[in-house]
Amino acid sequence: MIKLEHVCKSFGDLEVLKDISLTVEEGEKLVVIGPSGSGKSTMVRCMNFLEEPTAGQVFIDGTELTAKNKNDIVRKNIAMVFQQFNLYPHMTVLQNITLAPIKLQHMSKQDAEKIAYEYLDVVGLRDKAHVYPTTLSGGQQQRVAIARALATKQKIILFDEPTSALDPETVQEVLDVMIQLSRINITMVVVTHEMGFARQVADRILFMDHGAILEEGKPEHFFENPTNERTKAFLSKILK
């Protein structure tokens, strides 16, 4: 469970998050949408302290995240998938996936590789285990990044615009993997512009603008009867 209490974040004079309070239940699939610059990525990055809030608190399973315990809490609970994949270019696909399990969870190389292959199967890239990430397409790299996130067996996976940097033809292969993940019992928080995906997968959708949550609800409510004017305007622009 992730709980944000009155989280604010500023970069200098720029107020990016304004008093955000939010609870994400265990196993929930939460999709966050909104125009760029609305603070949605920053909010998600506060959940694993890639950004430390300027004010307010973040709780993971009831424990408050602090600068001191963040490595420990993140290591045990949260994985993340980035817009730019951020695979380690000096390591093969297999090494990318096994690094954290071996170094942080003290798994044997053998066990870690076994798990890595398991998740490479999930994302359909077993045959790429020994190549370097730069040889892969964007969609393939992102699927590796998802396998890397899964291999640490976290309860929570944060997705920060996972398909925004992809060629249109590879977006679907990544979404398909994510749809598959949505059927298992992990908590997913997904920042995305993919409305079809949001409708299909989300338990709840948040609409953010100007650093605040303007509307939230189940997909059917959200897409059929949005109440906030800005949500309506945003949806009418994006759903044509």
Partner: protein, 224 residues
């Protein structure tokens, strides 16, 4: 023939070889010391925003913007250690600053996303440096590192100014003993040739590593 054998007599060759040995030992020690401390200084300057970072910056800029020969002379006269060690010390304090900048260049070439990915997995700062940042940094800077090594080998020739008998120093002593300018010129050419051979070998490695480095960015397939 007589001219050549007068220059390259057995004694003279042994004399020069001893100098070459000193050159290589000083250059190699300098490179190792500078690489070690340069890496630390580069890391500190890049990632410490406090007093240590500032001190590293001052150190680096001081040595980078002053001539090596100045430090060779200063340390020889101010630090009471034998000439040979004084040579290594002065070369090292200077080259450390240069290496630090080379390392920093490598660090800055690494995408910020690498830190974020590592942090998002729960790696701490030092673990991130060790497993993710430093390996990539060194892979990226192999060509500049090797260039600096070549420069260091050539820089050792400054040490004859403080009477350290490295290769150039030994050569100068021999030249002092020669009677004809022809002998001097031939020895000069020979010495230049020797430096060329050492450094050309090193630069061939540079070129090879360079192509390897480029391959890394292009597709590299590793068999299972």
């Amino acid at each position: 023939m007589e001219l050549l054998s007068s220059i390259f007599s057995r004694d003279n060759v042994l004399f020069l070889l001893a100098g070459m040995r000193t050159t290589i030992v000083i250059a190699a020690s300098t490179i190792l010391i500078a690489l070690f401390f340069g890496t630390i200084l580069g890391l500190v300057r890049n990632y410490d925003h406090g007093i240590l970072g500032k001190l590293s910056a001052v150190y680096i800029e001081t040595f980078r913007n002053t001539p090596l020969i100045l430090w060779i002379l200063a340390i020889r006269f101010l630090v009471p250690i034998p000439a040979f060690y004084s040579g290594i010390l002065s070369m090292s304090v200077f080259t450390t600053a240069i290496m630090a900048e080379v390392v920093r260049g490598g660090l800055n070439s690494i995408n910020k996303g690498q830190f974020e990915a590592a942090y998002s997995q729960g790696f701490g700062f030092f673990q991130t440096l060790r497993f993710i940042i430093i390996p990539q940094c060194f892979k990226n800077i192999v060509p500049s590192l090797l260039s600096q090594m070549i420069t260091t080998v050539k820089d050792t020739s400054f040490l004859w100014a403080v009477a350290i008998e490295e290769f150039t120093g030994k050569g100068m002593i021999l030249m002092g003993r020669f009677a004809s300018s022809t002998q001097v010129f031939i020895l000069f050419a020979f010495m230049a040739g020797m430096y060329f051979i050492i450094n050309f070998t090193l630069s061939s490695i540079v070129r090879r590593q360079n192509t390897k480095g480029q391959n890394l960015k292009k597709p590299v397939l590793v068999e299972a």
